[in-house]
Structure formats: structure tokens, C-alpha cells
């Protein structure tokens, strides 16, 4: 009997747990999922919480629901992963494993940016609720949406927030006395996803009157003078600042000596096995930037499928049947418009060329798809 421990109940951890629960049904193998939160949150809906379209309880489900499927769930903080001993320290207790999947994601670290207390953000549920109050108090002026660095969860989110804010301000008849500025390190909107997607997003932002300030690398926030300060000396004044907080991988003492200079776990990009020990897998936002994949839930999802298949193959001698699909797609809701971009990162993964990206659709109906996807996600993985 093997104990498979999954650290993290986000997109990656949830998919691994479900796939293993189905594949190991009727066997004596144990699946244990550890997360600090009692809930799984559907993070793509956080901007909707911030804009008042959804309530927190609508975008979360208890992780305990997994127990009906045969997955043991433990609520606790992962303090240390001791790979040589095959043990994880959770809540002061040492737990052993035979196979480990680490999918702890990225953590927001607002303190890493000076003056961040003057900003709002929907990258956590608490942050989304604070941002909602700030938007409700807003009576017109300049809203600046800034990005603290290139590494953050869900690269298209700042663009969506700009579009949704435009829509919300129009509805409240505040748009005429408001300005929306999006300051981003990229030279053009979503330029990392190629000209096809960038062109569409540029067009939408222009139609909504959102000013794009490209190549803006934020250095700090000046709360007194209400300025967003750039590394190149640019200063952008704001009345309301929405800022993507600094993110860091949640490594929790993982793979000592085997982290990249930027603290991402070192993994084999073909198998996602940790180079320190092949019995340890690392997937999702905590590892993807190191292998040039975006920090997005959809990528973690497909990595999770692949990792679960490898584990099933190892435990059951099973036919894996599929390989990792390095594609990402994201339903971008702009309020009165929506876009479904997709990128195939196969060439980026083997460093042979640019990603192959296109737009799968642009229509208000796509917004409905986002709502439906949330329902399907919960129904499939946490019902």
C-alpha cells in the first residue's frame, strides 16, 4: 500500500486527487490532500467578487467534499518538505509519504512592494472584498491598474479587470468623470501571447477608452502623493490604485539545494518530477515560470492530469494513454464583451520557437461559458 500525499488544494491538487481517486478505486492505496484552507476557491471568479457580481460562498466549495471520493483531507500549513526522509511537516506533525505531489501555487507578498498598503487587489478573496468596498466608495477620478512584476497568477486578469471596471463605471454613470490607466511591464497588451491575441485585446481596451502604459516596471507606491512609481522614473498619479501584488512560489523548504536562482523548484520539464527525488512531483504556479510556462490554473490542470497518470502507471502498471498538453486558454470577461484566447506552448517548452496563439472566439456569449465552466468545475471535482 502506498500513501500519495498532495500538497495544495488548488487547480492542480484538486485534479490530481480526483484522477487518483477514480484510478485507485478499490485498492488499498491512500490519498491524502493537505491545504491550509478548508475551501477550494475558483480563482478566475475573484474579479467578479471584487465587482460585486459574485459572493465569496459562490466561488468556493469545501475540500472535505473530496472525502466522499475516498480522498483524506487534512487542513494544515505545510512547514517543511524533507525529501531525503520522505516526510512533510504539517501543523507541527511529521507525515510520511511514498509519492508526493507538490502543488502549492504562488503566494501573494504585498509587503515586498513599498507603499502597497495604498493599493487594492482581487488576488485573494479578502483582497477582492476590500477592493469591492473601495470601488463602491469611488465617485470618479483616475483608476490605475498596475502590475508589480512579470510573475503573477493569471496573466490576462489585469486586462479583464480594466474592462469590467469600464463596464461598472458606465453602469454607475461615473465613466465620463473617470479615467482608466493600465500600466504593465509588457510593451503591448498581452504581447507575450503573440500579435493575434494582443491585437484583439488592444482593440477592446481602445474601444473602452482604457489607456495602456506599456513597458512600465513598477518600483514602489507613494501613498502620500498617490503616485505609482516606475523604475524608469515615470510617475502615474491615481485616485484608486488596483495593483497586482508581488508573487513568490510557495516552496516551503522544498528540494533543498535544488531550487532555481528565483526559488522555483527544479523539475524535469518532461515529467514534472523533482530532480532531487523522482518520487516527488511539482506542478502549477510554483514551478511553471522556471520552465517558461505561464502561471495559470489551466496549465496546472493538464500537468495534474499527466502527473496522476504517471502515478497510476507506477502503482498499477497502467497504460498512461496521454501526454502533457502544454496549452492554455482563458475566458476573458470585459463586462460587455468577452474573448477566448488560446496558446499552444509546445515550442516554448522545448525552446524551439514562439507559442502558437489564436483567438477561439469573441462574443458576449463567451461570458456565459465562464459561468458555466465554474459550475462544471465544481460539479466535476467537488460535488
Amino acid at each position: 500500500m502506498a500513501r500519495i500525499m498532495i500538497l495544495g488544494g488548488g487547480s492542480g491538487g484538486l485534479v490530481v486527487a480526483n484522477k487518483l481517486a477514480r484510478g485507485l478505486r478499490g485498492t488499498s492505496h491512500e490519498i491524502l490532500l493537505v491545504d491550509r484552507s478548508p475551501y477550494h476557491y475558483f480563482m478566475p471568479s475573484f474579479p467578479w467578487v471584487a465587482l460585486g457580481f459574485k459572493e465569496p460562498e459562490q466561488v468556493r466549495r469545501p475540500l472535505k467534499n473530496l472525502e466522499k471520493k475516498g480522498v483524506r483531507v487534512l487542513q494544515g500549513e505545510v512547514r517543511e518538505i524533507r525529501i531525503p526522509e520522505k516526510r512533510v511537516r504539517v501543523n507541527g506533525e511529521d507525515l510520511s509519504y511514498d509519492l508526493l505531489v507538490v502543488s502549492l501555487g504562488a503566494e501573494v507578498k504585498p509587503d515586498l512592494m513599498p507603499g502597497f498598503e495604498a493599493a487594492y487587489h482581487p488576488w485573494t478573496i479578502e483582497g477582492a472584498l476590500r477592493m469591492r468596498e473601495a470601488i463602491q466608495r469611488f465617485e470618479g477620478g483616475r483608476i490605475v491598474i498596475g502590475v508589480s512584476g512579470p510573475y503573477y497568477r493569471c496573466p490576462p486578469a489585469p486586462y479583464e479587470i480594466a474592462g469590467q471596471l469600464d463596464f461598472a463605471l458606465r453602469a454607475r454613470r461615473l465613466r465620463d468623470k473617470s479615467e482608466i490607466v493600465l500600466a504593465h511591464p509588457h510593451p503591448q497588451p498581452l504581447s507575450a501571447m503573440g500579435p493575434a491575441i494582443s491585437g484583439v485585446i488592444t482593440e477592446i481596451l481602445a474601444a473602452k477608452g482604457v489607456r495602456f502604459e506599456g513597458n512600465f516596471h513598477a518600483r514602489a507606491i507613494d501613498p502620500e502623493r498617490r503616485l505609482l512609481l516606475g523604475q524608469d522614473g515615470r510617475e502615474i498619479p491615481f485616485d484608486l490604485l488596483i495593483m497586482v501584488p508581488p508573487h513568490r512560489p510557495s516552496v516551503a523548504g522544498m528540494c533543498p539545494g535544488l531550487l532555481t536562482p528565483a526559488s522555483f523548484p527544479l523539475v524535469d520539464p518532461k515529467t514534472f518530477r523533482c530532480l532531487a527525488d523522482p518520487d516527488v512531483f511539482a506542478i502549477g504556479d510554483m514551478v511553471n515560470p522556471a520552465i517558461n510556462l505561464p502561471a495559470a490554473g489551466v496549465v496546472a490542470h493538464f500537468q495534474a492530469e499527466f502527473v496522476a497518470n504517471q502515478i497510476l502507471a507506477e502503482l498499477k502498471g497502467a497504460y498512461i494513454g496521454e501526454s502533457f498538453t502544454p496549452v492554455a486558454m482563458c475566458i476573458m470577461d470585459f463586462g460587455d464583451d468577452a474573448v477566448l484566447p488560446m496558446c499552444d506552448f509546445t515550442r516554448i517548452l522545448d525552446l524551439s520557437g514562439p507559442p502558437s496563439c489564436g483567438v477561439l472566439g469573441r462574443s458576449k456569449a463567451i461570458r456565459l461559458t465562464k459561468m458555466l465552466f465554474e459550475s462544471i468545475w465544481f460539479a466535476t471535482y467537488l460535488s
Partner: protein, 170 residues
């Protein structure tokens, strides 16, 4: 509460019909198929995410977008006039004796105002085509150059990571 609902004749009728449907679905195998389909649902997303399917989808979506850009009034009027003219000119009688156009009659035809308008459209189209291809090739060249620079940096980072991993492993 449940007992109360079950006393309602309407609820009893709905339940009877549902049970009857379930029995028929069980007999025909539809129920067993649904059970399997439900089991497949969590995997279906990853199968649908085949990059080849997505690229077909993105290209089809772009073609549909081009169709969407055409103003329905304009296309309807233009196409209906074009069809009218084609019907008038390309009659079976005319098709039997198609006019032969040599160098001399080609020059003569150029004096026809309709031919001149048609040529104008063709020249305009050729100008647009040339300009669009020139702009797109410039954009693609710039993109390839930028991508190569990025990839070179990523290759350098990947090599450094692999060197570090090899050092730790040894």
C-alpha cells in the same frame, strides 16, 4: 416534508413517469451509457484541449470573424447585383459563342467604361494585397527577431539550471 410532497398526485405522476423512463433507459442500455459518460466527463476537457483541434478552432473563429466584419446590407446589395449581371450576361446562348479576346480586342475593350471600372477594382485589390503582405512580412520578421532574442535568453537560463541540477546530482 418529503412525505407531504409524495402525497401530491402531480408528484406521484411525475415520479411514475420518471421511473418508467429509467426502466426503459435501463432496458435499452442508455442508462449504462450515461454512467460511462459521466465517468468520462472529467477527462473530456483534456481530450478536447488537443493543440491541433484548438488551432483548427482558432482559424475557423478567425474566418467567422472576417464574415462578421462584412456589412450585411453591403454584401446583400453587391452580391444580388452581381448575380443579376451574371444571369444577364452568361446566358446559354452567350456561352455557346464566347467572345475571343486577342491583343487588339483587349485594347478595344479597355475603352469600355465598365471594363475600366472592373480594372480599377482589380488594381485597387492588388494594391491592398501588396501593402498588406508587405506590412505583415515586416511584422513577422520583427516578431521572429524578438522571439529569437527571447529564446536565446531562455536557453541560457535553462542551461544554467541544468548545470546546477547536474552539480547537485553528482
Amino acid at each position: 416534508m418529503t412525505e407531504q410532497i409524495l402525497q401530491d398526485p402531480k408528484a406521484q405522476e411525475a415520479l411514475e413517469r420518471t421511473l418508467s423512463l429509467l426502466i426503459r433507459m435501463n432496458e435499452t442500455g442508455a442508462l449504462a451509457f450515461l454512467e460511462d459518460a459521466v465517468e468520462l466527463l472529467p477527462d473530456s476537457l483534456s481530450y478536447l484541449m488537443d493543440p491541433r483541434l484548438l488551432k483548427i478552432g482558432a482559424n475557423l473563429a478567425y474566418l467567422l470573424h472576417v464574415v462578421e466584419l462584412v456589412e450585411p446590407t453591403l454584401i446583400t446589395v453587391m452580391m444580388s447585383r452581381l448575380v443579376e449581371e451574371l444571369n444577364r450576361e452568361l446566358t446559354p446562348e452567350r456561352m455557346k459563342e464566347l467572345p475571343r479576346v486577342g491583343p487588339v480586342s483587349l485594347v478595344k475593350a479597355l475603352a469600355d467604361p465598365d471594363v475600366q471600372r472592373g480594372l480599377g477594382i482589380l488594381v485597387l485589390f492588388l494594391r491592398v494585397l501588396g501593402r498588406a503582405f508587405d506590412r505583415s512580412s515586416q511584422e513577422l520578421m520583427a516578431l521572429m527577431e524578438a522571439t529569437e532574442k527571447t529564446l536565446a535568453e531562455l536557453r541560457r537560463q535553462r542551461a544554467e539550471i541544468e548545470r546546477q541540477a547536474a552539480a547537485v546530482a553528482s
